[in-house]
């Protein structure tokens, strides 16, 4: 694991809850990960596990009410974003930390030209004049591989395809050369060939600009393709955090193992795919013990009654599972115990 000074973003025990008429939804309830300069971190998990809420929390874009960051720290270059003023956050958003979204079709404003939407962020953060910002916007469109960018800049989003729009979003997000790009399922809504192109583009620009990426996805294929390190989330909590290599070679958490088993393999019959049985718990009514216990093949009495902590191995990997502790009361005593 990397040296301490490489860490640009350190999220510690983040908790974001929604206070609704139906009760408190603990959408994010214990997210820990750190992101190093220049690397790509995958944030992985089934739909609804809190990936988007985590990323919106980092930019402090959770609508309040009903949402609120109720605990934890988000250390960006050592400063806690949860304590920043709204005005301070505005200088960070779109400038030092940018975000792109899953829905390229609807994430651009339909009534302004794409050039204007990119230029706007440059005028805002880089103190550029109209002309200079427009020229830079055209440059950005060229950079993300949009043909005849001068003409495209004057067009409105409805004149562009989904893949083009996601390129525009990337151009907009990277215009101010942010240190972190948060990409929330950037390719999920696109068809496969376009997906590959967009991922390729992001990798290329990451190298050119030296930024860090948080790649949110539920697709382990995308993880394998792009990520250096991975945080696996389940029901609002990070359950495993390790390098991408480790994750595929030696998944520790039973949920991660389940995810791996549900991946189609070339050497297996499709029928043998094991989806994880059961349902994700409701964020309004989480199990008292391990949140994965109702679905876990190894669950014991201990799992059902007591919540496991996220514990670290010497190499920096982390896992949240009783199996890897000395308190484990089940039969499968696993090889490596967590060395705290």
């Amino acid at each position: 694991m990397p040296e301490q000074q490489d860490i640009i973003l350190d999220v510690r025990n983040l908790q974001t809850h929604f206070f609704t008429d139906d009760g408190v939804s603990k959408a994010v309830d214990g997210v820990d990960f750190s992101l190093n300069r220049g690397e790509t971190l995958g944030l992985v998990g089934e739909s609804g596990c809190g990936k988007s809420i985590t990323s919106l929390s980092i930019l402090r874009l959770i609508a309040s009410p009903p949402g609120k960051i109720v605990g934890g720290e988000i250390l960006f270059k050592g400063q806690d974003l949860t304590k920043k003023s709204e005005a301070d956050m505005r200088t960070i958003r779109g400038n030092e930390i940018s975000m792109i979204f899953q829905e390229p079709m609807t994430s651009l404003n339909p009534v302004y030209s794409v050039g204007e939407q990119i230029a706007e962020v440059l005028r805002l953060h880089q103190n550029m004049g109209r002309k200079e910002a427009w020229d830079k916007a055209v440059d950005m469109l060229r950079l993300v591989g949009i043909p005849s960018p001068e003409k495209r800049a004057t067009q409105e989003p409805h004149e562009l395809s989904g893949g083009m729009r996601q390129r525009v979003m990337i151009a907009m997000a990277l215009a101010c050369r942010p240190e972190i790009l948060i990409a929330d399922e950037p390719t999920t809504a696109l068809d496969v060939t376009i997906q590959a192109q967009i991922l390729e583009l992001m990798k290329k620009l990451q190298v050119e600009m030296g930024m860090s990426i948080i790649m949110i996805t539920h697709d382990l294929g995308v993880v394998a393709e792009t990520c250096d390190r991975v945080a696996v989330m389940y029901a609002g909590k990070v359950v495993e955090y390790t390098t991408a290599q480790n994750l595929f070679a030696n998944p520790r958490h039973p949920y991660t193992v389940g995810l791996m088993n549900s991946l189609p393999r070339l050497d297996e019959d499709v029928e043998e795919l094991q989806a994880i049985k059961g349902n994700v718990p409701s964020p309004f009514n989480m199990p008292v013990g391990c949140r994965f216990a109702p679905r876990c093949p190894h669950a014991t009495e201990l799992c059902n009654t007591k919540l496991p902590e996220l514990l670290a191995y010497a190499d920096g990997s982390k896992v949240r599972c009783w199996m890897y502790t000395s308190e484990w009361d089940g039969d499968t005593k696993t090889a490596t115990e967590v060395g705290v």
């Binding site: 930019l59 874009l61 956050m89 505005r90 200088t91 960070i92 958003r93 779109g94 400038n95 940018s98 975000m99 979204f101 829905e103 609807t106 994430s107 651009l108 404003n109 339909p110 009534v111 302004y112 706007e120 962020v121 805002l124 953060h125 409105e156 989003p157 409805h158 979003m169 907009m172």
Partner: protein, 306 residues
Amino acid sequence: MFVYIIRRLLQMIPVLLGVILVVFLIMQMVPGDPAVLLAGEGASAETIAKMRTQLGLDQPIMVQYAQYVFNVFQGDLGTSLRSNLPVWDEIMARLPATIELALASIFVTVVLGMIAGIVSATKQYSAADITIMVIALLGVSLPSFWLGLSLIYTFSVKLQLFPVAGWGTWKHMILPAITLGTAGAAIVARMTRSSMLDVVRQDYIRTAKAKGLRETVIIYKHALKNALIPIITVVGLQFGFLLGGTVLVESVFAINGLGRLIVDAIRMRDLPVVQGGVLIASIIFVFVNLLVDVLYRYFNKRIDLN
């Protein structure tokens, strides 16, 4: 767009022909014979008959109608039975006051309505939002003559800030415009609120926030332009009601406008003036509708093409 406008203008012709016909038929049905009224009380049957022939009232209704339409296309709206002046001149003398009143009122409707709606939407469920929405609810159901008389009593009689009646200066305009514009403002406020609330939930507003834009830029630049489409439709509809409302407000504030001209003419069975007045009012109405549709298409073109 150009072809569309031409097509719409051509479509106006049958509409206006229909309007003239309906007015003709209605005036036929109302009791009271203009010839009798004009000849005066106790005129002989002979005088009355002569008067009828002179006015062309002895002709079958359809012939009268055809004759009228023919004259209109020649730019002749006829002569007032009462004043013997050309109907065109009578209308033109009254039209400016009505147009001023309508514009001032639509200004109240749009500006007051949109500001209230935006405040409501951006402060959803706050005290300001609830207050505005309660007032808007009352504003829709408030009879305009009652509102007009209350305003006159409070601001003209008691506080003496504005003239009680008449037309001419901006001071004359304020109370009638508020009277006429309030109901529309209430409806526009509610539409603005719901449209804005709908827009601020959209993904591109989240994008705007993620760019680091401030709230006011997000609301007035990114949200408002998108929220405008349903608001334009409502304002267009309101303009129709508003033209109808001028009749009442002109009476309450004693403004010599087109509405009063038509009402007086109906009372006197002054058919040419009624006919001409309604025709001009209809033309204005149809043009406003066309303008609204053109604006709507302009703002909506991205959505159409999607």
